[in-house]
Symmetry: C2
Subunit: 224 residues, 2 copies
């Protein structure tokens, strides 16, 4: 499996599509996963149409997508995270990297996107790690990068990507994926438990989007 192959589970959602477009344009080979193979195929076709040219985007059901790449990105709504992990966990190849992008926003239970749910594991990322096989490394990233900013392909994404994980080496594997998105910058956010805060920042940014009628991002100052 090529290192340039990325499976995006829940890749038919706005965040998944935005990441798929950016990475495909940067030369990665993308497998868009969905619960429904037809939806995955049609999302992939739509994205090929958007980008034109020689981009590599195909569709597959989530479990097939999860088995077909060394890097798997989970971009499902929080309400679907546990079921999706149960669905794909047997398909994840030993040694693969799982990047969790899930944010436990309140809409999962009918609430507001500016508010968070408490997660017993501490964060969506830690919940994901509990559900992942032991031989798969879990990191979290890309929570704060807005789908809207990703989809505006002519514009840079003015946002740092704070990457959390318990293995420095695993986190480093995310660096080229961040570098592939113009305007994004990799920031080592520390252990996976710090994802609690990075996930919560998403809700804060959504509130700022509403309050300032714009699309905000985050930068860490003082980091070279």
């Amino acid at each position: 499996m090529s290192d340039h192959r990325i499976a995006i589970i829940g890749g038919t959602g706005d965040q998944g599509k935005g990441l798929a477009l950016r990475w495909a344009r940067a030369g990665f080979s993308i497998i868009v996963g969905s619960r429904d193979a037809e939806r995955a195929d049609s999302a992939a076709a739509e994205m090929r149409g958007t980008l034109g040219g020689e981009v590599l985007i195909e569709g597959a059901v989530n479990s097939v997508a999860a088995a077909s790449a060394p890097i798997i990105v989970l971009t499902v709504p929080f309400a679907a995270q546990i079921a999706t992990m149960k669905d794909i966990r047997e398909s994840l190849a030993p040694g693969s990297l799982l990047i969790d992008v899930t944010v436990p926003l309140e809409p999962a239970v009918g609430g507001k996107p500016t508010r968070m749910l408490g997660v017993w594991a501490g964060s969506a990322a830690e919940q994901c790690a509990e559900l992942a096989p032991e031989n798969v490394q879990v990191v979290s990233a890309f929570h704060n990068v807005g789908a809207e900013a990703l989809s505006r392909l002519a514009h840079e994404v003015e946002c740092d990507v704070i990457v959390c994980g318990d293995s420095k080496d695993a986190k480093e594997l995310v660096r080229p994926l961040v570098a592939a998105i113009p305007g994004c910058r990799y920031v080592d956010g520390g252990p996976l438990a710090n994802s609690r805060t990075v996930e919560a920042i998403t809700a804060l940014l959504i509130g700022l989007n509403v309050r300032y009628k714009t699309h905000v991002g985050i930068r860490i100052t003082g980091v070279k």
Copy 2:
């Protein structure tokens, strides 16, 4: 009482001193509060020495300081927040503004400054509001501005100040205090409950300081 008068409760700590120096230099009249009047006086004298010239900084015990200004800033360690609020609450004048800067970092119980404590009220700011008299408005701000950055008076503080509170008018009173610190920018962070996230960002930034051997801050992009 002049609007240009600010009491800093716990003003002998690093964060309190840093804010006192910046605001005194900008022309505010500062009352540095401490549990101990002598410590307050000597911190005030030290700061007058640092700044020289016609700055207005005096010391007082916390309860006296709290009674002597329309704006009261709480910069005590989390372990001292409840006791301090009980000590000063009767002294707070009706209609005054209390700005909570407290962060529930784990060192309050012997842990790490990169980790947070859970607070039953939701955040230190909400705990502060529970303890404040009803006729005093509570907002939270300045959590993410490092004491080190504040103390380096020749340098701008590269950090947005995310202000949380349930009254827009009360939050607006913080705007001139933010503007008085070169490099800082006011960002309306929404309701007081959002302080949960803004406080947690402090622990994240402390971890980044350690990891990157620097002094970091935060910026929200896309906000004019």
